[in-house]
């Protein structure tokens, strides 16, 4: 380590080079994409029989009531564009399909936007239905749009690999058609969408309307394609740098978000008398809405020492987690503990989707080596289950570099 004056500058240059020249945490963002779209997909399928009661125009939280509330809070939902049952079915089915395709990583960047629209549309339509799990999915759906989460473990990556091996590959027709369709859909939305799509107000951020946000994403996608095709030199490198920057910033925001979740959950608990006297966990285990297995809950709650240890342990882990990121080994131990606790919560408190969403969010901190081993294991298991596919496909080589040029 040199102590010359130039060292901090050199370090800064190296840092800037890294965040403008590579997308960090490719496996971690892929886990977020796969995990959260899987959670949302399972939720949508689980609620399929109840979808009208939850989000439909004639549910207890009726379309008209939602319209009055949204006129006040300006949340984004395409369900307000029409109160017809047919439109509702289309949106719900669209949310199911887009989340499934996002999970598989088919046209990831487009699907991440469509899936986000599905999440926001359903959740904002009936805001008084959600719990912490919905909240996590909502935020991550917004952040995921800015990440390049399809670089590995995706159909996009596989296609990129194949195209890389085939120099005679023609233009990407599917991509062009999909992009054109999205443009047409946006024009239609602009005409029929009423007040939902404005340019400067009522958008995701102050001063940025949803029309600007969605048209901007659409345009960026088009420019990206055009530059890749017609200006592969320096303009391409600059756009690459922008994509890397947005990805790395979004990844950082996701990680900070997870830290804030644990920090607030923990630090507010420290102030509570029940967490201090070590009986806190006893109470949720006696709440009718959160004890699907009363025999188990009461057995757990009956053991004073266990309740004390679990209550103190929960607070300690939640408060400590952000700081353990400074030490790789301790962080990994805590990650395992938190995931185990959420698995327990899934069953004992009857919150499976919340727990799954939290476990996936935690997974953004898993080490790359572990994730790659997991990927290899999954690949082998798949090959064993589907031996016929092995010959048809080129071997999956995760982390292969051809994807850099073809996956947005």
């Amino acid at each position: 380590m040199s102590f010359s004056k130039a060292a901090p500058l050199a370090a800064l240059t190296r840092g800037v080079d890294r965040v403008t020249g590579s997308s960090l945490g490719r496996y971690q963002t892929a886990v977020i994409r796969i995990g959260l779209s899987f959670t949302w997909l399972c939720f949508l399928l689980r609620e399929w029989p109840n979808r009208h009661e939850l989000y439909g125009p004639d549910g207890p939280w009726s379309w008209e009531m939602a319209r009055r509330l949204i006129a006040d809070n300006h949340a984004f939902t395409v369900l307000m564009w029409s109160d017809s049952a047919f439109w509702f079915e289309c949106v719900y089915a669209g949310a199911v399909v887009s989340s499934a395709l996002l999970m598989l990583g088919w046209r990831t960047r487009t699907m991440s936007v469509l899936s986000m629209i599905g999440v926001l549309s359903l959740q904002n339509r009936s805001v008084f239905l959600g719990d912490g799990g919905d909240n996590v999915i909502h935020l991550m759906a917004l952040y995921t749009v800015l990440t390049r989460c399809g670089l590995v473990w995706s159909l996009d990556a596989r296609r990129a690999r194949r195209r890389g091996q085939d120099p005679a590959a023609g233009p990407d027709l599917t991509g062009i058609v999909l992009w054109a369709l999205c443009g047409l859909a946006l024009i239609a939305a602009q005409i029929f969408g009423g007040t939902g799509l404005s340019w400067t107000t009522d958008g995701p951020l102050p001063g940025l309307g949803w029309a600007t946000a969605l048209w901007g994403l659409w345009l960026a996608h088009g420019v990206w394609w055009a530059v890749c095709r017609y200006a592969p030199g320096e303009p391409r490198t600059v756009l690459d740098a922008f994509a890397h920057l947005a990805h790395n910033a979004a990844l950082l925001v996701i990680m900070v978000e997870v830290c804030l979740i644990y920090a607030t959950a923990g630090w507010y608990k420290i102030q509570g008398s029940r967490w201090q006297d070590g009986t806190a966990l006893y109470y949720p285990l006696h709440l009718d809405y959160f004890s699907p297995w009363p025999e188990l809950s009461h057995a757990l709650a009956g053991n004073g020492l266990l309740v004390l240890l679990l209550s103190y342990g929960t607070v300690a882990v939640q408060v400590a987690f952000p700081f353990t990121l400074l030490n790789r080994r301790v962080k990994n131990v805590l990650l395992a503990l938190m995931m185990a606790e959420h698995m327990g919560i899934a069953v004992t408190l009857g919150l499976p989707f919340f727990s799954l969403a939290m476990i996936v969010a935690d997974a953004v901190f898993l080490p790359t080596g572990f994730l790659r081993r997991l990927g290899a294991l999954t690949g082998r298991a798949r090959d064993r289950l589907l031996p016929a596919r092995r010959k048809a496909l080129p071997p999956q080589r995760e982390g292969e570099t051809a994807s850099r040029t073809l996956v947005g």
């Binding site: 080079d17 890294r18 965040v19 403008t20 590579s22 960090l24 945490g25 971690q28 609620e47 109840n50 009661e53 207890p60 009726s62 009531m65 009055r68 509330l69 006040d72 809070n73 300006h74 949340a75 984004f76 008084f128 239905l129 959600g130 719990d131 912490g132 935020l139 995701p204 102050p206 320096e234 600059v238 740098a241 920057l245 910033a249 990844l251 925001v253 900070v256 978000e257 804030l260 607030t264 959950a265 507010y268 008398s273 967490w275 806190a280 949720p284 006696h286 709440l287 009718d288 809405y289 699907p292 709650a301 004073g304 069953v347 009857g350 499976p352 953004v364 080596g369 982390g399 850099r404």
Partner: protein, 223 residues
């Protein structure tokens, strides 16, 4: 606090020095914009989830404009203290018989119905776990002690509770509901057996006025 990132990206680093000046300026500007945007975002989210403090009180308006509606979040799970009471929402109805006479049903414990649906259920639905529970929280949060609504949200919460109650009662009575009444029965969870605190005592009742049921409150099938 990066992830354990991989270092196999080819030519990791765009090699900014190899670019022309305009390109370098563009990348630098992009980096500046993204850095500021990320910093503002994380700052705003932090101030939103942190307890009310010097900065967040001064800039409450700006923080609210930034966070709502899409970045709203609340992570006070069971904090500072876990909920220590079971709130059961119950409803009864005034029905109109075929002879024109009205009859009064007994109180139906809607929360107990939810509880039965959740019992031994690995995948509880939002209709069972969140709908009525959160609707009552919504109502309680938008009404004062004399049951007066605090504006738009207050009146929406009344309509919401009424529609849930009517939908569930109509399902079991099969006769048109003329009026409906809702009450909340709150039972404090008894302290643990090893604690020296006193028991929870009798449940407390919060009974709302009778609400006339409009056609619009009825589920589609019963209109």
């Amino acid at each position: 606090m990066g992830p354990d990132d991989e270092r196999d990206e080819p030519g990791g680093g765009a090699g900014l020095t190899r670019l022309s000046l305009p390109a370098r300026v563009a990348v630098a500007a992009g980096a500046a914009v993204v850095t500021v945007a990320a910093a503002v975002h994380m700052g705003m989210v932090f101030l939103h989830v942190a307890p009310s403090n010097t900065v967040s009180k001064q800039h409450a308006q700006a923080i609210g404009d930034y966070i709502y509606p899409e970045f709203e979040q609340n992570w006070k799970f069971f904090a500072p203290n876990p909920l220590q009471q079971n709130v059961a929402v119950q409803a009864r109805a005034e029905l109109k018989g075929p002879d024109g006479r009205t009859t009064l049903t007994r109180w139906t414990d809607l929360s107990a119905q939810d509880g039965a649906a959740i019992h031994h259920n690995l995948l509880p639905s939002h209709t069972q776990q969140n709908q009525l529970r959160r609707a009552w929280d919504f109502y309680a949060g938008t009404h004062d002690a004399r049951e007066r609504p605090n504006g738009l949200r207050g009146s929406l919460s009344e309509e919401y509770i009424r529609r849930i109650a009517v939908a569930r009662l109509s399902g079991q009575e099969g006769r048109p509901v003329q009026r409906v009444q809702v009450r909340a029965v709150t039972t404090v969870v008894a302290p643990p057996p090893w604690s020296d605190e006193k028991g929870g005592g009798d449940p407390s009742y919060r009974t709302l006025a009778w609400w006339p049921v409009a056609t619009a409150d009825l589920p589609e099938a019963n209109r």
